[in-house]
Amino acid sequence: MEKQNRKGWLYLLPALVFLGLFLVYPLVDVMIYSLEEGFNFASQTHRGVGLGNFSYVLRDPYFLQAVKNTFILVIITVPVSTGLALLISLGLSSIRKLRELYQTVYFLPYVTNTLAVGLVFMILFKKTPYSDGLANLVLSWFGAGPVDFIDGPYWAKMLVLCVYTVWIVMPFKILILTSALASVNPVYYSAARIDGTPKWRVFTRITLPMISPTVFYLVITGFIGAFKAYSDAVALFGVDLNAAGMNTIVGYVYDMLYGDSGGYPSYASAAAMILFAIVLTITCINLLVSRKHVHYS
């Protein structure tokens, strides 16, 4: 038995070393960092312990801008992408011909490099001295004036960020919802057909309750994912997100850590802890709401 014990731990050792060094230790460390005031990177010393980093971060206009941007992004993209994915999956599951082709096409954005394709979106929306760009061409068909979506007004930039985010997150949602729809027991649908139930009623009384756990899962992961948005914004607006006024909370953390405005791991840690608290709170609220509305069979 003693030999068995040692062998088990031996097999587990690599995983324990990696996780300990790069996941568990950092987790503890980031909490300590966030409480150490006036930390100096070069001498590895700090002035005192307290909530000073948090109060600095919460008063930093860049952080407040980042929080605002992130919340707007979350509130717009999560409902839009989930709703749209639900519609598309319903459409997909009611056709037979070409279904696999559509599924494959819809999944493509998942396997692309966020930075690379973001560059394409930037070019589609960008207005340059040589051309107004394709998005503005489409706008002009409807008689709307050219707008600079990349360096222009705030709402235009936010719109592009939302569009790109939705485009990026759709494949995952469509995939998950289609497989959820496929796993609904067809007996329910046959029973409804015999009763002559109208389509809308079938949807609200059978389909929606049956897939509600999946929808709820997507909403939660969607919230978490959108709160961590960063590389999409970098792809569209460049590395200096503060200057563009489009920074996100995660972006703020990294900017504090590294780059031209970096070198403040304490502030970065405090911001990361705040982000974690926000995500945790939202997830708990989601869980409470779901108790009432989600049907678990």
Binding site: L12, A15, F22, D29, V105, Y110, M122, I123, I176
Partner: protein, 287 residues
């Protein structure tokens, strides 16, 4: 009111409905595919032709491949590529070793504290990566591993989720096989390699592909840990090209670089389509 007319109109209505449905699905397919089309199209337009189009054209009559030449000569795109391949191979290989051993320990070996540790692992799945990046950055900097492959790879290796996924699969292999092997005097390691891994190959392939995708797209960690171009991965390379490359104006060359960077993953996806989609459906999330 004759029966036949009602039936015919019902059939017509159904056919129109199906038509509308296909049209709407096609609209979304076009929205998904258009950016890909646009990057391909722009990458084969010549620099002069692209910049003279005040109204962007949806096609080109004189495609050229010169942008691809520029993409590889004006910026070290080939170097970024090699770096990314090395990073992906190193990370994925290490991840596989760590994951397989841990999953085997959790699913087959019996030792004190196993279930407790496994619960701990599950709890770790909830930790967002953003939270630990800060300390990892400091750790790697203190170890003097910035701008090295080791610094890039080490913190990217572990994925608790893959250990969990593989453990679930290993646990499905019937115990009888293990006892039979034990009676024959097979060692645990040999059993793992000769029985478990071959049986669970589909899951191992899925995990590998998901990790490759993750590595190919990783941006945040490489950006923090490298500022020497010689160690840039493709994501950082793209960002570098966006900020400084090609004089910022040579959009066709930029798009050629984007095509080159996107192509390997798309090919991988088309080959392993079912496996990737099944793997992601089982619980992968982006990044």
């Amino acid at each position: 009111m004759d029966f036949e007319r009602i039936e015919r109109s019902a059939r017509l209505r159904k056919r129109v409905g199906t038509g509308v449905l296909y049209a709407l699905l096609t609209v979304w397919a076009v929205i998904v595919l258009f950016p890909f089309y646009w990057m391909l199209l722009t990458s084969v337009k010549s620099y002069g032709a692209y910049n003279s189009e005040w109204v962007p054209k949806l096609y080109t009559t004189a495609p050229t491949l010169e942008n691809y030449g520029t993409a590889f000569t004006a910026v070290p795109l080939g170097g970024y590529f090699v770096n990314t391949i090395l990073f992906t191979l190193g990370t994925t290989a290490l991840m596989l070793v760590v994951t397989v051993l841990a999953a085997f320990a959790f699913s087959r070996l019996r030792f004190r504290g196993r279930d407790l540790v496994f619960t701990g692992f599950l709890a770790l799945m909830m930790i967002p990566g953003e939270l630990v990046v800060i300390t990892n950055f400091v750790t790697i900097t203190n170890w003097d591993l910035r701008n090295t492959f080791l610094g890039l790879i080490l913190p990217s290796v572990t994925s608790v989720f893959y250990i969990y996924l593989l453990r679930e699969n290993f646990a499905q292999v019937p115990d009888e096989l293990y006892y039979a092997a034990k009676v024959d005097g097979t060692s645990d390691l040999k059993y793992l390699f000769k029985v478990m891994i071959p049986i669970c190959r589909p899951t191992i392939i899925t995990v590998t592909i998901l990790k490759v995708i993750e590595c190919w797209n990783s941006y945040v960690w490489p950006r923090l840990i490298t500022d020497d171009q010689a160690y840039f991965l493709v994501s950082n390379g793209i960002q570098e090209i966006r900020e400084n490359g090609f004089g910022r104006e040579n959009i066709p060359a930029m798009m050629a670089a984007v095509v080159v960077i996107s192509a390997p993953l798309i090919v991988l996806f088309l080959v392993f389509r079912r496996k990737i989609m099944a793997g992601v459906a089982r619980g992968g999330t982006k990044g």
